[in-house]
Structure formats: C-alpha cells, structure tokens
C-alpha cells in the first residue's frame, strides 16, 4: 500500500532500472556473476458467506531476490524492503553466504549465447476494473445461485472473488533482462449439503487471465451445489481391484507426479523412480505430452525460463516414450545434458486425448470407481508407490450407482501410467496441465 505506481506494464521500465542497480551493486561488492528478479503485485480478494460480506482483503507486495556467484560459489538473498540501503544489505547478505558455500562445478549462470532474444507478447495482462462492491455483488450472485439449486444446500463455506495483477523483471550479469506483466482472476464457491444423516462439502471455481471470461457466477454456484448434494449418502465400498476413472481436475495431478519424476532436480538426487528412464516406453503408444509455452493468455505461458533461456515447444512423451527430461541449467549440468529451458518448471502441458467424453469413458469402464476427490500426500517418488484417500462414485454397467467415500486407491505410478486405457475429451482448462478424464485399467481400492 505504499504510494508506489500502479502495477502493470508501465512499471516495467522502473523495475528494469532496479534490476540494473542491484546487478551493479553486486558487481561493486565483488560478485563475479549474478541474477536478479524484482516483482510487484497488487490485488483484491472478497469473500461472502450466507448472503453477507465476510472479508475484503487488499494485497500489495513488492520484493526482490538475488543469486550471486563468487567463482563457483553461490549465495542467495531476498527482501520485501526497498531502497538503496535494502539493496546494499541484501547483496551483502548473499555475498557473505557465497563466501562460505562450497565450490560447485555446476554452479553459475546459463551460457550467455543461450539467453532469450525474441520476447513475443503473450497477452497475459488484462486488469479487471472491478470495485470491491462489484466483486461482492458477483460473489453474492454466485452463492445465491448455489442456495437456489437444491433445498439440501444447508450452509455455505465461503464464495470468493479475487483479482490480481503483477509484474516481474529478471536480469543477469550476461546483460539479459526481460519482464512481463500478468493478471489472474478467480471465482470460487464452497457449499455444504445436508441429508441422509450426513453433511458434505464440495466446491467449484474458475480462473482466467481475463475477468470477463470467467464462467458465469450462477454456473459456478450451481456446480458447487450439485457436487455437494451428489455426495450425500456416500459410503465405502468393499476392498477390491477395479478400473479407476480420474476426473479431469484430478487427472492433472497424475501428470503433475509424472513431471516431478522426470524433473532434473529429482533425477540427479536419485530421488525419482524414473531415473534412467529416458527412451523407455512408459505410456501407451497413442499418448503424448507436449509443452507449448507461448499460448496467448494461457495460465502457464512464459517466453523465458528462470535462467533467462528462451522457452520452446517440445514433447516430453512421444508415442508413449519418454523423449526428454525436464531440465534447467543446473540440473542439466549435473546430468551432463543441455537445459531444456525448464528452470522453474513446465509451461502449459498438453496431454493427447481421444474423443470420448466422461459418459463414454464410464461406459467403457463398466464397473469401477470414478474418483472426484483425492486426499493426503501418499506418494513416494523414489519408488513410485501411490496410495491416497479418495471419494467419488461407484459405477456399474457404465452408470453411476451411489457416492463413495472413506476409501483409498493404491498402485504404483509406473504401472498406472502403462495402464492408462483412455484420456477423455472433457478437458480441464483452468491450469498449467490440460488433460481430460483418465481411465486406468486396474487399481486397489481399499474400503470396508
């Protein structure tokens, strides 16, 4: 809330100047190389519950971080303070650490020749001129639609609208400097249903770079309500081995686990069950996973990675085969491979899919479990062993029979990936990973 300028593209030149100042200070203090990121963000979040405003929050953050090198030694520091003194002290803190860190052959900036040059505009900045009153109004409309959906909706756990805009500039001592402004707007609704001696909660949400493109508040409210009501009467099923269909919003997590398992950091630490799997057929032949980093307005888009390298479109899995690890400069050096411009992660992952929607996949499954919620962190990335709490619906003859809760699903990710029978056309579009429902041939369901 300092009297700084508005957050947006117009702030980028000023942030660039700050990056240059910090790099100059690092050089002055004796760093041989360094990289700096400066960011600022502002936003508004409002939450309503049972027809009343519950919170109105205003966010305004700023800060910078520096990683510097003294030869092959590295130190990092960051702060939310600003001004010349904060710059001097933060650089000094990073330098003091670097002087005590060990020599690391792999440490250092990426090769100067690889720095991104073209920076296409990805159209990520769409500020939403919405007042707190209008935000509250939309959230109230969303919640009202949820209450109107079904008389068994007995309570609400909060409907929130939030809008954020931010800008970030990264630069390093090779002379690379790049930045962008972006926005993120979301509307979420959590409702509680009561009936059949149970109380059940579920939610729905939408998120977009453009506020006007968020799903209609009434639709989000209705879906939240329908999902909560559909859970009433949930019960465990007997322990069994059956096919499992992951709803698309959960299937993203399966591929998220895969991305973690082929990430350089886990590979060089010997912490992944997919160490050494490059070139292996891990998925069915029809499945591919593609990164497309330059899609206008997409949530995961970026022109350069965390090391300043130009991002580019590429497959990680092609014809079911692992064709590339996910590497940044450091992890690449540790593994003796070139960076894939993925320092900081993957930018927009597309999972290939067929033309069957969720109904068609339920029919294909016949008898099994449709999973619509997962709980806990039951994944061992070293072995691929997977065991998580689950809720969803029991399916017989391709039709939903009754809601299920208090069960676990377990398997090993290597088997689960190989046993993907189909990916649906019912795409989850809200995040960084785009996939439809995923049908897995067989998992252990533990229950009553």
């Amino acid at each position: 809330m300092s009297s700084a300028q508005a957050v947006g593209p117009q702030a980028l030149p000023d942030l660039q100047t700050q990056v240059e100042q910090i790099i100059a200070e690092a050089r002055r203090q004796g760093a041989s190389a360094c990289e700096v990121a400066v960011s600022m963000e502002q936003g508004l979040s409002t939450t309503v519950r049972q027809g009343e405003v519950e919170t109105v929050e205003f966010n305004r953050d700023q800060g910078f971080g520096i990683t510097l090198y003294v030869g092959q030694r590295k130190g990092s520091a960051s702060t939310s303070a600003s001004g010349d003194e904060a710059i001097r002290e933060t650089v000094a803190a990073a330098l003091a650490i670097a002087k005590h860190a060990s020599e690391d052959d792999c440490a250092g900036l990426a090769d100067a020749a690889l720095m991104a040059r073209d920076m296409p505009d990805m159209d990520l900045f769409h500020p939403w001129a919405i007042s707190p009153e209008q935000a509250v109004e939309r959230a109230l409309a969303c919640e009202a639609a949820a209450f109107a959906t079904d008389t068994r909706i007995s309570n609400a756990d909060g409907t929130s609208l939030s809008t954020h805009q931010g800008c970030r500039v990264y630069g390093n001592s090779h002379g690379f400097i790049g930045g962008y402004a972006s926005t993120r707007h979301s509307l979420s609704c959590v409702m509680i249903a009561e009936g059949e001696g149970q109380m059940q909660r579920d939610y729905w949400y939408d998120v977009s770079r453009q506020g006007e493109l968020l799903a209609d508040p009434a639709r989000i409210g209705r879906l939240a309500a329908e999902r909560s009501v559909a859970r009433l009467g949930a019960r465990p099923v007997p322990t069994c081995e059956v096919p499992v269909l992951f709803a698309p919003e959960l299937a993203t997590g399966l591929f998220g686990h895969f991305l973690a398992a082929i990430s350089g950091g886990n590979l060089y630490r010997h912490s992944s069950f997919l160490e050494g799997a490059l070139g292996q057929r891990l998925f069915p032949e029809w499945l591919s996973l593609d990164e497309r980093p330059h899609i206008p307005r997409a949530m995961g888009s970026a022109t350069f990675d965390g090391d300043g390298l130009a991002t580019y479109a590429k497959p990680f899995v092609d014809g079911g085969e692992l064709v590339s690890y996910i590497l940044g400069t450091y992890s690449g050096r540790k593994l003796g491979l070139p960076s894939t411009a993925n320092s900081g992660g993957v930018h927009n992952l597309f999972v290939s899919h067929g033309d069957e929607d969720q109904q068609a996949l339920l029919r294909r499954m016949g008898r099994g479990l449709l999973v619509t919620e997962l709980m806990g962190q039951g994944l061992n990335l070293v072995t691929g062993d997977y065991s998580r709490g689950a809720a969803g619906f029991w399916v017989e003859n391709g039709e939903i029979q009754f809601p299920v809760q208090e069960v676990t699903i377990a398997g090993n990710l290597r088997d689960m990936f190989r046993q993907i029978v189909a990916v649906g056309s019912d795409l989850e579009l809200r995040g960084n990973i785009r996939t439809g429902s995923v049908l897995i041939e067989r998992m252990t369901v533990a229950g009553s």
Binding site: M1, S2, S3, R49, E52, T55, V56, E57, F58, N59, R60, G63, K74, G75, S76, A77, S78, S80, A81, S82, A86, T90, A94, A96, I97, H100, A101, S102, E103, N155, D157, M199, Q200, R201, R231, A234, T239, R269, H270, S271, F273, M375, G376, Q377, G378, N380, V382, T383, D385, S387, R388, G389, A391, E406, V407, T408, A410, T444, A446, G447
Partner: protein, 485 residues
C-alpha cells in the same frame, strides 16, 4: 514484557518515525463509525537456510521480510490491508482500505492499552547469530561425512539447517498491546539408500523455538542431536528397503508415540477450530458436552510449552496462549478460538489466533496438540492385536472437516501378527472419519511423547509451525490403503 515491548517497538517503529504512543490515535481513526474492532500487526522477520547435498554446501539463502497488517472488523465482516513500508502515510492508506467494509452504525471505542503478563517461553536472542557462518557450514559437512560413514548402501545425503527470528508487535482497539520475539530453528537429514536394485528414502529432523546450539547438544542416547536425526533417517530408509506391500482393507491399527499425533491434528484438531464451528461447517459443530471419542481420550492444545515449535508466549492477536482442554475423557469440552470467533460465539479467546505473517489475516489455529497418557503398557497394546498394522512414523495428513474424513500416510509401518511386530510394510494412506475413529480408540499407552519439532500446518493457504504428540494407542478398525492382501 515491557522490556520486550520497548525493544520490539523501537526496532519496528523507530525507522518510520513512529512510537507506541501514536498507535492509539491511529487505531482511533480506524475505529470510526461502524467498526467494532481493529488491530495493527507489525512484523520484522529474518530467516536463513543452508543446504548440503552431494557432499557440498551448495546453497544458502537469507530473507528479510517486514511490514504491517491493518484489520478492521464490523460484525462478521473483516477488512484487511497491509504495507511493506512502516510509516504513518502507509499506515493511513492501509487503514482507509481496511475500514472500507464499515456499515453505518455505532461508533467503536479504543480501550486504553494494557499489556498482559506473559511467561517467556523462549530466549530473545537472534538464533541465527549463535554460530558463525563457517561453523554452520562445518556442522552440515560433519554430519554428512559421519552419515555416509554409517552404511555403504547410502547413495545420497541431504542435510539442511534453517532459522527464523521473528519480531512482532500487536496493538488492538480492545486495549491489547503486546510484543514477542520468536526464534525458530530446524535441522533435517534425508537419506537415499540402494541395495539389490531397490531404492528407498528416509528422513528425520527436529527443532523448536531455540537456537542452533540445540543441535549440538546430546540427545537421550548421549549422541549429538543432529547426528541422532541422521541415524534415525538412515534407520527408516533401511527398514523401508525391506518393506513389502501394505495390506488393503479395514484393520486394527496401533499408532506409535510422538509424531503419530498427526492423527489427532487431523482427526480432531482442525474440526475443533472456532471458525468452522461458528459457521457450523465442522463434523464437531454443536457437539460440546457430547461424547465424541472413547472415554480413554483426553486431548489438549497447549501453546505454553517452553521452547516447543508450536508454542507462543502471545498469539498473533496479543492474547496469551494457554492449555485448552479440547476433549476430556471422550467428552467435547471446547474449541480453539481467536478473538473474532470467540466474540461471535460468546466465549473467551483461547490464544489460538495465529497468522502466517503481517500480510495474512489471523484465524483459529492449533499450537501443540496432544493426547494425555493412558495406563496401558505399549507392549501390551501390541500383544492385544491378532492381525493389524503398527504405524511407527507418519508423513503428512489432511482432513475434510465437514464430512469428518481424514487421512494420514505412513512412512514407517509394520505388520502385527499374533501380538508381535513382524515385517515392515510400504508407505500407505490410512483413511477414517474423525469422531468414528476416535470412538474406536480402545487402548492408550503410558508413554506420551511429543514430536521432534518439524511440523507445519496449512490452512486456507497459510502455513504456521505446530507441534503434535500422543502416547501409543490402538484404533480397533481403520481403512488401510495398501495394495497387498
């Protein structure tokens, strides 16, 4: 306390030409028409971490974060804004934003400041400064070398050291004025072992509201504490190398003492936080006075334990922490409250108003949550199980407080066969319903232990350090999510 107030006030306010004497006037502007209550939360936090892997200290980082959060309340409504800058102009802007939620109504009042008497639960010195940087680096290297020397099957060792020094000052329109200086340190060791083509990991660590010298002290086995963590990480990794698939189905489960208290944190603790109960969204809502667990269970939340990771002298609203009995002999006694939910429910705050930082709103959160010791000999508890699971160590957990469903994952578990602990089983998720599972607690051990001090609890996107603990206990039936028979 006045000493701390002066010290923290000077540190946080002086650079922006503010004084504690000016705060009532700022609060007075905030508590205009329609605002019932308001508070200011000033914070300055320095933190650092050092990481060793591949035998070298390859990373260190330092962070300084500071700012002030301004909150205004009107009935059930809360307005909130914050600033990285701490001076009068920034405070004024944040205050105008926060009070924009006001409805027309009666004029609120600012009470005269009164600082509660607080027992110091931890030292005030900067815990990061008790060791020189070179000593921190040498400690990590020494533990790495000693760990690698323990077993040839070790493939990778990761050692990390982290410390936080937090200074907070809270001033509220109800007259609360308090300051706290909070140290927090942590040491972790992770080990990857490989044998006969199988690979497994083990991890252990500890810490608390103390300084780095804690890790150099002798533990209960007469070993340097940091090295004790390493030995334990290796032991767990080696056990898991031999593990077979866990069974799938509903079985009796014996939970080990200490860190397994994650069970209580998930199955009971979250469901007893005041906000959920005020809103009626918890499986425990409206059940005060009812039997919600077996009569063997007495569960408390205690923020007053000296030096513990979850402890606080004062919570983040300036309320002194306390030991709150949540469940006594199975009967639900009370909820954990912050000021807002206490006021709306007509009860007293319990010192559980916590926030991740000045840029987050406070809410009811746990401190150190544990079950009191029972009377059974732990070995007798194991002997009582014909076929079941013994959970010696857990990973994380999660709960849906509305349906009461909770999960936790084992990181070290064994089969129990005919009253004896036999083969180790792979990590599995266990799932149950809070009140139901607690009603099936049929034996409670006499061996209460608290965890080693590494717990972090997440709620609504905010992370805070917490503690857990419990004696060995038996749950007669719970669903075990393995893949075996």
């Amino acid at each position: 306390m006045n000493d701390i107030l002066g010290r923290v006030g000077g540190h946080l306010l002086s650079p922006g030409n503010l004084t504690i004497e000016q705060l009532p006037a700022i609060l007075g502007e905030l508590v205009g028409p329609g605002i019932d209550a308001a508070d200011l939360y000033f914070q300055s936090q320095v933190s650092e971490s050092w990481v060793l892997e591949d035998g070298i200290v390859k990373e260190g980082s330092f962070n300084l974060d500071q700012g002030v959060g301004v909150r205004a309340q009107s009935g059930e409504k809360t307005g909130f804004a914050y600033s990285n800058a701490i001076h009068a102009e920034a405070l004024g802007q944040a205050a105008r934003a926060a009070r924009s939620i006001a409805r027309a109504g009666q004029q609120g009042k600012v009470q005269a400041f009164a600082s509660p008497v607080v027992t110091a639960l931890y030292a005030q010195d900067n815990p990061l400064e008790v060791l020189e940087r070179a000593e921190k680096v040498e400690l990590l290297k020494r533990i790495d070398r000693a760990t690698r020397a323990l077993d040839p099957r070790i493939k990778q060792v990761t050692v990390s050291l982290a410390g936080v020094w937090d200074q907070v000052l809270v001033a509220a329109s109800d007259g609360s004025l308090g300051a706290d200086i909070r140290p927090l340190v942590r040491f972790n060791v992770g080990v990857i072992v490989e044998h006969n083509g199988r690979r497994e990991r083990g991890g252990h660590g500890g810490g608390g509201r103390t300084d780095y010298r804690y890790f150099l002290e002798r533990d209960g086995n007469g070993e340097e504490r940091a090295m004790g963590y390493a030995r334990e990480a290796l032991r767990q990794a080696l056990v898991n190398l031999e593990a077979m698939p866990a069974p799938a189905g509903t079985l009796p489960v014996v939970m080990g003492a200490g860190w397994s208290g994650v069970l209580l944190h998930e199955a009971v603790g979250h469901g007893l936080e005041g906000d959920f109960n005020r809103k009626g969204s918890s499986a425990y809502s409206g059940r005060i006075g009812q039997q919600v667990a077996s009569s063997l269970c007495t569960i408390v939340d205690d923020g007053t334990l000296a030096g513990r990771r979850g402890s606080l002298s004062l919570d983040d609203e300036g309320t002194p922490t306390q030991c709150t009995t949540l469940i006594e002999n199975g009967v639900l006694k009370g909820y954990m409250q912050d000021k807002l939910n206490a006021r709306l429910m007509g009860v007293a705050p319990t010192g559980n108003g916590r926030r991740e930082s000045y840029s987050h709103l406070p809410m009811p959160r746990m401190t150190n949550t544990y079950m009191l010791a029972g009377e059974s000999d732990p070995e007798e508890i194991i002997r009582s199980v014909k076929k079941g699971i013994y959970c010696a160590n857990l990973g994380g957990g999660q709960v849906d407080i509305t349906s009461g469903k909770f999960v936790f994952s084992t990181s070290e578990a064994y089969l129990i066969e005919d009253g004896r602990i036999t083969a180790p089983v792979k990590g599995a998720t266990l799932i149950g319903n809070g009140p139901e599972a607690m009603s099936k607690v049929s034996m409670v051990g006499n061996d209460l232990a608290l965890d080693s001090g590494v717990g972090t609890c997440g709620k609504d996107g905010q992370s805070v350090p917490v503690g857990v603990g419990q004696p060995t206990l038996k749950i007669d039936a719970i669903t075990v999510g393995g893949t075996g028979a």
